[in-house]
Every structure is written in structure tokens, then in C-alpha cells.
């Protein structure tokens, strides 16, 4: 490649030394009792395609500093992306002025002193992919799609960046990151078939556009001319992306305080929480581990706490809820410093075996527009999308129309028939990747499909 690898000079993220220098400049002018500074930076590159060609693309660079000031029990935050001396001084002054005006926060926790963090090599990727590299990845999908008489759409992004935290108690932490994600939706020109495939990775080099394109093309062709099947309770075979769509909802409901205050599924009737209670099938274990081999989690939280391996569910039993530092202290437990990695246990069944063992059921590619309906049961609603099939007598017999469902992941995980090998998926609705989510495909009984959708 003769062109410069990066659009931006200097590099697309701040180094440890640069981040620390900026943080120290801000801390030097701080007058508050406690000051915390967060410096984040990064370059983002993306390319979109539609109708078998590039539609838009973008490269950008930004660096942001956030200052948190504390006077006694009064606290406030301010942030800017202007990093010159005058702007930093003004930022600190603003944060401190806001903090002085803030009423006392009785739940305020003191800043942490120096911490020890796990050591881990930084990602090899230091630069975002060039527009040429991205256009080549687009062609790896659009050309086979066009050759097959189909219409492809999709998105890819790859970021490099840094995150640093420092305070006036001597804490400093820095981490560098990289990510890559891609998804594609291929449709038939008559609009009756649609297939999706997506993936998320640690680095751009791990992304294989051609494989994703082939999977989406296959699904698009097989999903054309769907027929209506009566809504109701069905055995479902959920591909890993659909499992992730559901299991993530549990993690979003793990707040310990809500549970203690009686406004969560994890509240125990009569008081207390469901920690120690079996809530799902005993084959289910859900863990967040920053050192997971398939997903690089953050090594520290936004307060600078070292992240730990947290077991949320073990053999079906709730082992932990999310305790922030204040609530942990009040309840006499340790705060849960979880990372943005989520891994669920699996089994030894393949999707093919799940299909072969199913007399009548529905195979689901992914779920969409998932919104909470009732937090008392973690009940959510949403739809199936981009590849929904009827399974009869051990094989896929037809493409079917999409369903709206009303279901709780808790109920689904109580109805497990079989699980497969966990794999990392791209499970954010926007296709931007996000934290690593590693889940298995699942076959479950009695999934609640409540109405039909004509949407393809």
C-alpha cells in the first residue's frame, strides 16, 4: 500500500505518555479535594454499502477529557475535546464551579488510591483500515450478491483508541484498544427474502467479509417467499446472535440496589435478593471475565477499580448482582467490578443436530427492536428478522413470516432442551460490535410468539 496507512498525523490515539501528560496538566490546576480525570481518544473508520455499492463512509479522530471534581460531599463532571492549556484550565474551573454548587451527595464514595492491574499485551492493530481496504471488503460481499441476482447492504467499522484514568490520589491507568465489526443483510430483489450475517472481533485482520457475505446470501435465497404459521408457543432453535439478544437482557437487570429495593426480578418476595436462588436451568453459567480468551475486556472500571472475573449465574443459581461501591459498602459486600465481556456456558449439540432432533419448531437467526415490557419478570417484546424457518420432522421445510414475541430470557433459560458450542457474536442491534458476547446456540421449548409480522 503506497498511500499513508492512517489519515491522521499524529497517530489515531493518544499514547500512555500523552494521556498522562494531559491528565497531569488538568490535575495541576485542580483545587478540589478530589479530582479524577479521564482521557479517551481514538480514530474510527467505517464504510456502508447499499444496493450493491458503497453509499457513505467516514474517518474521524477525536480525543476527550472529562474532569470530575469533589468538594467534601459535592461532586460534578465536565468534559471537552479541546486540549489546549486554556481550555483545560477552563474545563477544571467549570467542573469545580459546578461541584461547589451541587448539593451534598450522602452516597459519594472517596477516590481510589493507586491500584494494581492485570498485565496483558496491547492489541497489535494500531491503525484503522484504509478506505481501499474497506472498499475491498465491500466488494467481497457485493460482487457475489450481484452475481446471484441479489441486493446486498451492510456496514463495517474498525476503531483504535485509548482510555486513561488518573486522580489526585495517585491512581493512573491506561489501556489501548482496537475493534472490528461487520454485518450484512442480503435481500432478494422481489423483497420476499432477507438474510443477515455479522461478526465482531478484536482486530480488523480477524474479519472475513467473504464468509459473512456467503452466509447472508444463502439465508436470503432460502428465506424467499415465506409462508404464515400460526403464532403460539413453539420449540425454538435460536442461533447464537438471537441467544445473545436475549441473555444480555438479564445482565441489564442485575442491579443489586433495585433488587434490594423490591423493584426487580431479582427481588426476593418479602425482602432481600434472589442471590443463592436457582432461577434458570442448571446447565446455565454466565460469567464476565476481562481475560476471556475470546474477548478482551476492560482491565479497570471508570472509577479505576481493577475488573475481576464475576460469576453472575452458576449452574442456574444467581451468585452475584451488580453492586456499585456505595451499595456494596452499605450491604457489607465487595463491589462488583465487572468487565464488558459476557460468556455463557454451552453444550455439545450443533444447530444441525438441534434441527434433526426437532419434530416441529422454529429456527431463528436474530431478534429485533427488543424493548422492555415488564421488569418484574424481565419480560421483553421484539421480532424475529432476516432468516426465520419452520423445522418439521428433523429438517428445515420452509421459510416463514416473522413473528412478534413476548418472552423473558429467564423463562427461555428454564426451557432449554439443548445447547451448542459458545461463539463470539455481533449482537448489538446497530451492528457496531460493542463488548464481547460469547454464547451458544440454544434449543428451547415453549417460546412465546404472539403475533405475525408481514415485514421481510
Amino acid at each position: 500500500m503506497s498511500k499513508p496507512r492512517s489519515l491522521y498525523a499524529p497517530a489515531g490515539f493518544l499514547s500512555r505518555e500523552e494521556s498522562e501528560a494531559i491528565a497531569r496538566r488538568a490535575l495541576a490546576s485542580a483545587k478540589a479535594d478530589e479530582t479524577r480525570v479521564i482521557v479517551s481518544s481514538g480514530a474510527r473508520a467505517n464504510t456502508r454499502f447499499a444496493d450493491n455499492q458503497v453509499s457513505t463512509s467516514g474517518d474521524n479522530y477525536d480525543a476527550t477529557i472529562t474532569v470530575r471534581s469533589v468538594f467534601g460531599k459535592r461532586v460534578a463532571n465536565a468534559s471537552t475535546n479541546k486540549l489546549d492549556d486554556a481550555s483545560l484550565a477552563a474545563l477544571v474551573a467549570t467542573s469545580e464551579a459546578l461541584a461547589r454548587l451541587a448539593p451534598e451527595d450522602p452516597e459519594l464514595m472517596p477516590e481510589l488510591g493507586p491500584q494494581t492491574y492485570a498485565a496483558r499485551p496491547d492489541p497489535a492493530q494500531r491503525e484503522t483500515p484504509t478506505p481501499e481496504q474497506r472498499a475491498a471488503a465491500v466488494r467481497a460481499v457485493t460482487e457475489p450478491a450481484r452475481a446471484a441476482g441479489l441486493v446486498s447492504t451492510g456496514y463495517m467499522q474498525s476503531n483504535v483508541g485509548s482510555f486513561a484514568i488518573a486522580n489526585n490520589k495517585g491512581l493512573f491507568a491506561y489501556a489501548r484498544g482496537a475493534s472490528a465489526a461487520m454485518s450484512t443483510t442480503v435481500r432478494t430483489p422481489d423483497g420476499t427474502g432477507s438474510g443477515w450475517a455479522g461478526s465482531a472481533h478484536e482486530e480488523w485482520k480477524d474479519l472475513n467479509a467473504a464468509t459473512l457475505g456467503a452466509r447472508a446470501i444463502d439465508k436470503a435465497v432460502r428465506s424467499r417467499n415465506p409462508v404464515a404459521v400460526e403464532p403460539g408457543r413453539y420449540t425454538v432453535i435460536l442461533e447464537p446472535t438471537a441467544v445473545a439478544n436475549l441473555v444480555q437482557l438479564i445482565v441489564g437487570s442485575l442491579n443489586a440496589r433495585s433488587a434490594d429495593e423490591g423493584r426487580s426480578f431479582f427481588s426476593k418476595p418479602g425482602g432481600g435478593t434472589k442471590i443463592g436462588t436457582k432461577v434458570v436451568d442448571e446447565r446455565v453459567t454466565i460469567v464476565s471475565d476481562p481475560m476471556d480468551p475470546e474477548g478482551r475486556g476492560g482491565l479497570f472500571t471508570g472509577e479505576g477499580l481493577p475488573t475481576q472475573r464475576i460469576v453472575w449465574v452458576e449452574n442456574g443459581v444467581i451468585k452475584n448482582l451488580q453492586y456499585d461501591r456505595f451499595w456494596a459498602q452499605k450491604q457489607g459486600v465487595s463491589p462488583t467490578a465487572g468487565s464488558n465481556v459476557l460468556r455463557m456456558s454451552g453444550g455439545d449439540s450443533s444447530v444441525e443436530q438441534m434441527i434433526a432432533s426437532t419434530e416441529r419448531g422454529i429456527l431463528v437467526t436474530r431478534l429485533w427492536y427488543i424493548r422492555g415490557v415488564d421488569p418484574r419478570t424481565i419480560l421483553f417484546t421484539g421480532l424475529t428478522r432476516d432468516g426465520t424457518f419452520l423445522v418439521e420432522n428433523g429438517r428445515i421445510t420452509k421459510a416463514i413470516k416473522n413473528f412478534r414475541w413476548n418472552e423473558s430470557p429467564i423463562f427461555m433459560l428454564n426451557n432449554i432442551e439443548a445447547m451448542g458450542k459458545p461463539m463470539r457474536v455481533n449482537s448489538s442491534e446497530g451492528g457496531e460490535g460493542g463488548g464481547a458476547v460469547i454464547v451458544p446456540p440454544i434449543k428451547a421449548r415453549d417460546f412465546n410468539f404472539t403475533s405475525l409480522s408481514d415485514a421481510v
Binding site: 498511500k3 491522521y8 458503497v54 457513505t56 463512509s57 479541546k82 477552563a90 467549570t94 415490557v373 408481514d454
Partner: protein, 534 residues
């Protein structure tokens, strides 16, 4: 270990990349220098970008410079949970080169960086040519010259003291607690975006957007049950702090608290078909999801298939002038002109003055939301109607770092001719449910099948509200739902609601948009009980 000397070295490395253009915002957070069309710094920055793009071969380019401030205050019961102030300043350059788009952006405001980024947008467009089959083209637009516009804010929220804001929220929380709320959260969000747009067509546009959103949620708890009530009557607006004061949080908090308590003993709804009387505070979201989104032309043409989805209103030739969206009295307007609405602007993000246009005219689907590129796709339709092929002015980008694309203008259901209100529609209903406020919502990727909850549900019998219901949601199919509308409120009943955060695009961008409507009635809609669908 890093030494003091290294700090100084790296520090200078950050600032010596080019000559600093200088920080035009002298006193940045509290009182930034307001950009004006006559400000030489902004003009210079814009010209560096456009000259570099043209010099590198762009046939069209635009540059957006934006300084966006946000402030958030959140409280819980008797304490402040968060006070946040943030700002982001940068620029983005979009270039059209031989029919391909490129976009690059940076927060490093130096002359060298502006020129480098602008050339990068051009070379990115050239790279994209390799995966391009047909050229992107723009409908004609003329220079609007040097112009300015500002949101109709009487009180700039960034000039109001934090003390006043916190005091108001805590006073409102106290009232809610006194009236039976167990938990109360309340918030204020403010945005001020000072945006400069310059195009190679010769437009130089400076606009200041101000948005304000006060809100509250009251939770009541009893015997293992909990119910919440959001303050959905108070909608976000493109106005200043006067909108917060007009919202009367302190005065209304007891009503929200008492309704949260009432919901605890409300009767669970019996599933079945009901006539629904939908208040504007509820209906705005249904309009947004089932009319706003499916009439975005990029969705209809498949451009958003990978995330937001496509549209059931496609292909355009099968629907324009033919598809019956609803009854004859149904008229839906797209605009960016309603005073104080969230999508209001002087010019859009490619320099077009938006017009008011009818998306649904006398019940028939009439037009899509468009940008300059998209207007050409409907050339045949506009020619047939003897109308000019022009963009409706729906181009928008959330931030300097994002490329602009088609975003929703205000999409509003126009009031009916008769002077009817919520009370009249309730009085005319024999067996139904009245719904106020927005609740849980979900709709499919082509905008057919939707499920909506609400905040409060009233049982209507014999023309009267006889009590409260809970766990109500209705499931609907868009064409049947709007064609089942048989009554509509009049001008006096019309209200503007909206949302700060409508997501679309990849990477996802947020858009603020308003929806106006009166109360409507819809016959025999399917209602489910969300407390029992377990």
C-alpha cells in the same frame, strides 16, 4: 516510568502538528463566543477546507464546524445523582468526487489538519469508486448566501444557575414523595449546538440550536408490585429554559405520584378488542414509528436494510398517489418549521431551506422525506404533479464527526375540522380504553407490526372514564390501525410531542424530532395483557 521532561516533550508534540488556528471560544464552557457569519475565524477555517477539497478534485464539498454543549442534571428523591457538562468541537468535510462520497472529520483544529482531513475525504471518495456501480448525484440547490438562524429560546439554559435547576427538581421530588411516591427520579437535559455550514455552492450558514428536556419518573410500591408513572405530558422541545418553567414540575408531581399509586390497584386489563382513545402525549410515538419511519425514502429504497430496516411503503411507484394510509380526514405533514419543534431549523445540513410538505394527503400516501440526492429518485413523481424536483431539507448529522444523511423532519397528524377534544372522544365511546403517555414500544423493520404500551390507561364505559387499568398494550398492523381511525380532535386539541434520541444509520446517529397531533379514536384494536403474557 515517565519523567517530567517526557511530559513536556509529548505535550509539544500534540500542539506542533500545525499552526493553531486559535481557539475561537475564549471562555469555553459557560459563555462561548457565538459564531456569526461575519466571524473571520470560522470563514477562514471553512475556506481552507473547501479550497483543499476543490483543489484535490471534488466537484462538490461541504464543511460543518460544530460546537455542541450539553448539560445534564439528574436527581433521585432528596439528592443529586449527577451533574454533567460536556462540549465537543470539531469539523467534518464531505466531498463528492466523480459520483462517489467521502467524509472525514477531526477535532484537531489546525490549518494543516483541516486541509489534510479535507484531502482525505477526497481520496476516500476515490477509494470508494472501486466498489461503486452508479454515480451519486445531487438535485440542484442554489446558494443561500450568508445567513443566520437560532432556535426560539427566550432563556438560554446555559445561563441559568445550577442552583435554580437543582432546586426545582428537588422541590418537585419532595412533592411526589409527599403524594405517595416511594422512589422519584427527575432530570433536566439541555443541548446547545452552534453549527456553521459552508458549501461549494456558495452558502455560508450559521445556526444555533437549543433543546430542553425536563422529566420525572415516580415509582409506587406495594405488596411486591411496583408501578411507575413518567411525566410524558412534558415533552422535549427546541426551546430554552422557559420550557422547563412552563412544564410546572413541582405543581404536577403530586398528580404523577398519585397516578403511580392508583396504578397499583388498577384493574388488570381483559384481553380483547377495544376502541382506543389516544391522547397526543401517547399518539406522537405511534406516529413516529408507523408514519415517520416508513416514509423515509432511504429506508424505502433499501439503504437502511442492515439496521433500521426497509419500509412496507415500497417500491415508491406502487404507493405514491395510490396507497390509502387512513380515512379521508387524515393529513400528515412533514416540516421543519413548527415553532419550538425539535427538528426546526433555518437550513438543513446541506444548505437546503426545508419546505412544509404533505406525506399523507386526504388519506392517500403523497410523498417521502428526502435529501438532495434522494429527491432525484422521485423525479418522475414530481414531474407528473408539476412540482419542482427539490429536496425537502431532511439532511442532518448528529455531530461534526458524523456524515449527514436523511433524517426525519417533524411528522405531524393535522387536526380535524371539527372542534373536538379528548373529552369529546371519550364521551362518544361506549366501550374503550383511553391511553395517555408513552410506554414500551416495539415495531418491526418494515413498520407493519407494532406493540405499544402507555403511561396511564383509563377504562371507558358508556362515554365515561370509570377507572384505571394496568398492563395494557395494543398490537397493531399499521395500515389497519390508521384505517380504523374514525374520530379526530380539532385545532384546540393539537399538541406537539417529541424525542431527543431517534436512532438511525450506521454508526448510529441520534436525531431530535417532534410530532404534533390531536386526540384520535381507533375502532376495535387488539389489546393484550403484558402482566400475563408469561
Amino acid at each position: 516510568m515517565t519523567t517530567r521532561r517526557d511530559f513536556v516533550k509529548t505535550l509539544s508534540a500534540i500542539t506542533v502538528g500545525g499552526t493553531l488556528i486559535g481557539d475561537p471560544f475564549a471562555n469555553l464552557v459557560g459563555q462561548p463566543r457565538k459564531p456569526r457569519v461575519g466571524d473571520p475565524l470560522f470563514r477562514e477555517l471553512a475556506m481552507v477546507a473547501l479550497d483543499a477539497a476543490r483543489g484535490a478534485g471534488a466537484q462538490y464539498a461541504d464543511v460543518r464546524i460544530s460546537n455542541r454543549q450539553s448539560q445534564g442534571i439528574s436527581t433521585r428523591e432528596r439528592r443529586v445523582q449527577g451533574l454533567q457538562s460536556s462540549e465537543t468541537f470539531g469539523f467534518g468535510v464531505r466531498a463528492l468526487v466523480d459520483g462517489a462520497w467521502g467524509f472525514a472529520a477531526s477535532s484537531r483544529l489546525t490549518r494543516d489538519e483541516v486541509a489534510t482531513v479535507s484531502r482525505a475525504a477526497v481520496s476516500q471518495a476515490r477509494a470508494n469508486k472501486a466498489a461503486q456501480l452508479r454515480p451519486h448525484q445531487l438535485a440542484p440547490a442554489t446558494s443561500v448566501g450568508d445567513v443566520e438562524w437560532s432556535s426560539p429560546a427566550r432563556i438560554d439554559p446555559f445561563t441559568v444557575s445550577i442552583d435554580d435547576k437543582v432546586g426545582l427538581l428537588l422541590a418537585a421530588n419532595e412533592e411526589a414523595l409527599k403524594a405517595g411516591g416511594r422512589f422519584v427520579t427527575s432530570n433536566m437535559q439541555f443541548v446547545k449546538d452552534e453549527k456553521t455550514l459552508a458549501t461549494t455552492d456558495g452558502s455560508f450558514i450559521v445556526q444555533t440550536f437549543i433543546r430542553s428536556q425536563p422529566s420525572m419518573t415516580v415509582t409506587a410500591v406495594k405488596d411486591g408490585d411496583f408501578q411507575t408513572r413518567d411525566s410524558t405530558e412534558i415533552q422535549p422541545m427546541g426551546r430554552g429554559y422557559e420550557h422547563v418553567l412552563d412544564g410546572k414540575l413541582v405543581e404536577t408531581a403530586p398528580m404523577w405520584a398519585s397516578e403511580a399509586v392508583q396504578k397499583l390497584s388498577a384493574k388488570p386489563v381483559e384481553v380483547g378488542r377495544y376502541d382506543l382513545v389516544l391522547h397526543p402525549s401517547h399518539l406522537m410515538l405511534t406516529i413516529h414509528e408507523s408514519i415517520g419511519h416508513p416514509t423515509e425514502l432511504d429506508r424505502a429504497m433499501g439503504y437502511e436494510a442492515n439496521f433500521a430496516g426497509t419500509s412496507f411503503i415500497a417500491p415508491p411507484a406502487d404507493f405514491l398517489g395510490k396507497f390509502r394510509y387512513g380515512p379521508d380526514f387524515m393529513n400528515v405533514q412533514g416540516d421543519r418549521s413548527q415553532e419550538g419543534s425539535l427538528a426546526q431549523c433555518g437550513w438543513d445540513d446541506e444548505g437546503v431551506k426545508p419546505d412544509d410538505f404533505l406525506i399523507v394527503k386526504n388519506g392517500i400516501f403523497n410523498d417521502y422525506q428526502t435529501t438532495r440526492e434522494q429527491a432525484l429518485w422521485l423525479d418522475w413523481w414530481y414531474k407528473r404533479n408539476g412540482e419542482p424536483t427539490r429536496s425537502h431539507g431532511c439532511s442532518f448529522a448528529e455531530s461534526w464527526s458524523d456524515v449527514q444523511f436523511q433524517r426525519m423532519p417533524n411528522v405531524s397528524l393535522m387536526p380535524g375540522e371539527q372542534d373536538l377534544t379528548w373529552d369529546d372522544l371519550v364521551a362518544a365511546t361506549d366501550r374503550g380504553i383511553g391511553i395517555k403517555g408513552r410506554g414500551s414500544f416495539s415495531i418491526d423493520q418494515q413498520r407493519y407490526n407494532a406493540q405499544f404500551g402507555g403511561q396511564v390507561f383509563y377504562e371507558i364505559r358508556g362515554g365515561k372514564i370509570v377507572g384505571m387499568l394496568k398492563d395494557v398494550a395494543y398490537q397493531m398492523r399499521t395500515p389497519e390501525f390508521w384505517n380504523a381511525m374514525d374520530m379526530i380532535g380539532g385545532k384546540r386539541d393539537y399538541q406537539l410531542g417529541g424525542t431527543f434520541n431517534d436512532g438511525k444509520g450506521q454508526p448510529s446517529q441520534s436525531n431530535a424530532v417532534s410530532h404534533g397531533c390531536p386526540t384520535t379514536r381507533h375502532k376495535q384494536i387488539n389489546v393484550i395483557n403484558t402482566g400475563r403474557s408469561q
